[in-house]
């Protein structure tokens, strides 16, 4: 078993309720430094899989190793610290706390690593700003004053600020128009090459697969997903984007 894999999932079973299994993954391994496109229709359990990988959910059985760390056996607080320091996450929408400034959003991500913010971050931050084509002045703006495209780019910046070895991106382009999508994907690959992190990109949009080292269909690794695609129980296992309902 390759313990140094970016993600190594073995015999993993997860269900929100005993009679409603969501995931049953015999084996799924992502090599470090690679870019992986994970495809799956909404409701197929791919968001649940991401939450398992980040340690926000725990499997009922099986092992999950992330960057060599057995994330499912860490203590709750160690898991949270591990996530803060090693995994960058960009979601479909609403990645930022909208009443905080861009700068504070970034600072907050650094705060939860429980490390003293190193000074070299300023240089790195400028580098990221430049790569994302964000002006330095944007840092003083409130997150809710930005356009959706700007918010998504700031979200990438925030996800990369702690130099994570794993970057998880979940449907990041669904709120963007076609032109923005293309430029977003280009930027994402540029940054991946710059930081040499492992990229796990999740989407249902097969047009975005270009440039990825590997394209995986969730149905191929998940026993349940294969059988349940047609009868997928939607709504339970979504990422925070479903909270839009709550807002409305």
């Amino acid at each position: 078993m390759d313990k140094l894999a970016a993600i190594n999932i073995q015999n993993c079973h997860f269900a929100y309720a005993p009679d409603k299994p969501i995931l049953q993954i015999p084996s799924f391994v992502i090599a470090p430094g690679t870019t992986v496109f994970l495809r799956g229709p909404s409701g197929s359990g791919k968001s649940t899989l991401l939450q398992l990988c980040t340690g926000m959910l725990l499997p009922q059985s099986g092992q999950i190793h992330v960057l060599g760390e057995s994330i499912s056996t860490l203590s709750a607080s160690a898991r949270d610290r591990f996530r803060a320091a090693n995994i960058g996450v960009v979601l479909q929408q609403f990645n930022l706390i909208d009443y905080l400034s861009v700068y504070d959003n970034i600072k907050l991500a650094q705060h939860f690593t429980h490390q003293d913010p190193p000074t070299q971050h300023t240089a790195y931050l400028d580098e990221l700003l430049q790569a994302l084509r964000l002006s330095p002045e944007i840092q003083q703006q409130k997150a809710n004053a930005l356009s959706v495209g700007q918010q998504q780019r700031v979200a990438i910046l925030r996800a990369l600020i702690n130099r994570p070895k794993l970057l998880i991106v979940d449907e990041p382009t669904s709120a963007l128009d076609e032109a923005a999508k293309t430029s977003f994907m280009e930027t994402l690959f540029t940054l991946q090459r710059m930081t040499c992190c492992t990229l796990l990109f999740v989407s249902h949009d097969m047009r975005l697969t270009k440039g990825f080292d590997r394209v995986v269909d969730l149905a191929d690794i998940d026993d349940i997903s294969t059988a349940a695609v047609s009868t997928a129980d939607t709504g339970l296992n979504e990422w925070p984007n479903t909270s839009i309902k709550g807002v409305q």
């Binding site: 909208d98 991500a109 925070p240 807002v247």
Partner: protein, 470 residues
């Protein structure tokens, strides 16, 4: 960092947060005020008289006698003759006596006719004697010793001449203009009604009333309704008028003329100005007439154990209708009378605080729905569920601490402006310092109540973060 997030989060919801702070401020201010006044009132009441074993007055209610003779509030329908004092002094247990006569005012401050025994024996607080910080006690009948507040408020200094007005109340139409009194002493502040009192010799009071009678005889009859105490004075005056030395009727006129030129250009509001602190030989401290009416006598005993039997003796005296009270016991009775209301007020104030805290919890709980997303973001970037819990608690505490600070400032401010009014109208002496042991306990209590109330939204946030059911 977490505090910054909390602050920004509160700023983001400022209208509901401000309303909550407002509600909390009102309730905390109320609680602080009730508690402060409760304590101060008790302290203020009990420190007014000390070392006086008995107060003897004409037959009246115990509470009435205490309020009138110590706090100069209300009135008693009758007076007693000065010779009662010598009768009391004959008792072997009586160490000293202080006669007091009330009923006149000077610009809203009560005038107390007494003897030098007052300065010698009267005590307040924890057996603290009175202290004349400027000048001296009485040496002539046309002299006055002012309480600290009177001197300060009216800007009087030594040698100023003051004129008494008849009856109680700050505005009186009938003034004893013919008998100006010389300020010869000013007392140190005591925080008791003594501060608000003009002390004059009983002989001076008698002289002032004597001249008033004189002016009435010469045709000047003011058309005003006399107060009850004024009527009392007017009726009891007839008997002793004949005893008074003749020259006292004339000399005050001279005095007024002699010092009229000093009147203009003076810095304070005194009507007259005297030139020398030396006792005026024209107004000697004569022996006080046995029939001179007085309001009460403060009695100090050699042996406090004798107090009950002496009280009984006085109360049961068939010859003169007198009442004797133990000031400490009556003070306690008085306090018990108001303590019910005081406890009720405190209870209501606490209920209001709890209600406001529940309001705070409701506000936070209502915001949880829109904050689900925010919690998910925080979790994603590595915040632990307990951090979310802490964040919500910090927000609640931030609101309450702000409300507490505003309350302390506003209550202190209100007290600052009401202090003198409360002292002069209710005889309530409040300090501005809110930080006593009991208010500190109350503030901690409020914080505890807040923590408990905000547990509900905090736990909800924690669960939200833990299950991540978004």
């Amino acid at each position: 960092m977490l505090i910054k997030v909390a602050v920004e989060s509160l700023k983001n919801r400022r209208s509901s947060v401000l309303l909550t702070i407002f509600a909390l401020t009102i309730s905390i201010s109320l609680l602080l005020t009730v508690e402060h006044i409760r304590h101060q009132a008790k302290a203020s009441f009990t420190r007014t008289v000390s070392g006086v074993d008995l107060i003897v007055g004409p037959r009246t209610g115990a509470l009435n006698l205490l309020l009138f003779s110590v706090y100069h509030k209300g009135s008693i329908g009758s007076s007693m003759a000065y010779n009662t004092r010598s009768l009391l002094s004959q008792n072997k247990h009586v160490e000293w006596t202080i006669p007091v006569s009330l009923g006149d005012t000077h610009r809203g401050f009560s005038v107390l006719g007494t003897t030098n025994d007052f300065f010698q024996h009267f005590q307040y607080g924890l057996n603290q004697p009175l202290q004349i910080i400027q000048g001296r006690s009485f040496a002539a009948s046309n002299e006055a010793v002012l309480g600290a507040t009177v001197a300060k408020k009216l800007g009087y200094t030594l040698l100023d001449g003051i004129i008494l007005a008849h009856g109680l109340g700050s505005v009186s139409f009938k003034q004893h203009t013919d008998f100006p009194l010389k300020v010869v002493g000013i007392l140190a502040a005591t925080g008791t009604p003594v501060d608000e009192t003009v002390h004059i010799p009983l002989q001076g009071l008698a002289a002032a009333h004597g001249t008033e009678k004189h002016t009435q005889q010469s045709g000047f009859t003011p058309k005003i309704a006399l107060t009850q105490s004024a009527m009392r004075k007017a009726t009891t005056r007839h008997a002793d008028a004949d005893h008074r030395p003749a020259h006292q009727h004339e000399t005050p006129h001279k005095h007024g003329d002699k010092h009229a030129h000093n009147h203009t250009g003076h810095h304070n509001s005194a009507e007259h100005r005297f030139t020398s602190l030396a006792p005026d030989p024209q107004h000697p401290l004569d022996e006080i007439s046995a029939t001179e009416p007085i309001s009460a006598i403060h009695v100090g005993l050699t042996n406090p154990i004798a107090v009950l039997s002496l009280q009984q003796k006085i109360n049961q005296n068939k010859d003169i209708p007198l009442s004797a009270i133990l000031p400490g016991i009556v003070l306690n009775e008085l306090w018990q009378l108001v303590s019910f209301i005081e406890k009720l007020l405190l209870g209501i104030a606490w209920l209001i605080v709890v209600a406001s805290c529940i309001g705070l919890a409701t506000m936070l709980l209502a915001s949880m729905r829109e904050r689900t997303r925010e919690i998910a973001i925080l979790r994603t970037i590595g915040a632990a569920p307990k951090t979310i819990f802490l964040l919500l608690q910090i927000e609640a505490l931030g609101i309450v601490i702000t409300a507490i600070l505003i309350s302390i400032f506003s209550v202190t401010g209100v007290l600052f402006f009401l202090q003198s009014w409360l002292a002069s109208t209710l005889g309530l002496y409040l300090t501005l310092n809110l930080f006593t042991l009991s208010t500190s306990v109350i503030l901690l209590g409020i914080l505890a109540v807040t923590c408990i109330c905000s547990l509900i939204p905090a736990i909800k946030g924690y669960q939200n973060a833990l299950t991540n059911r978004l």
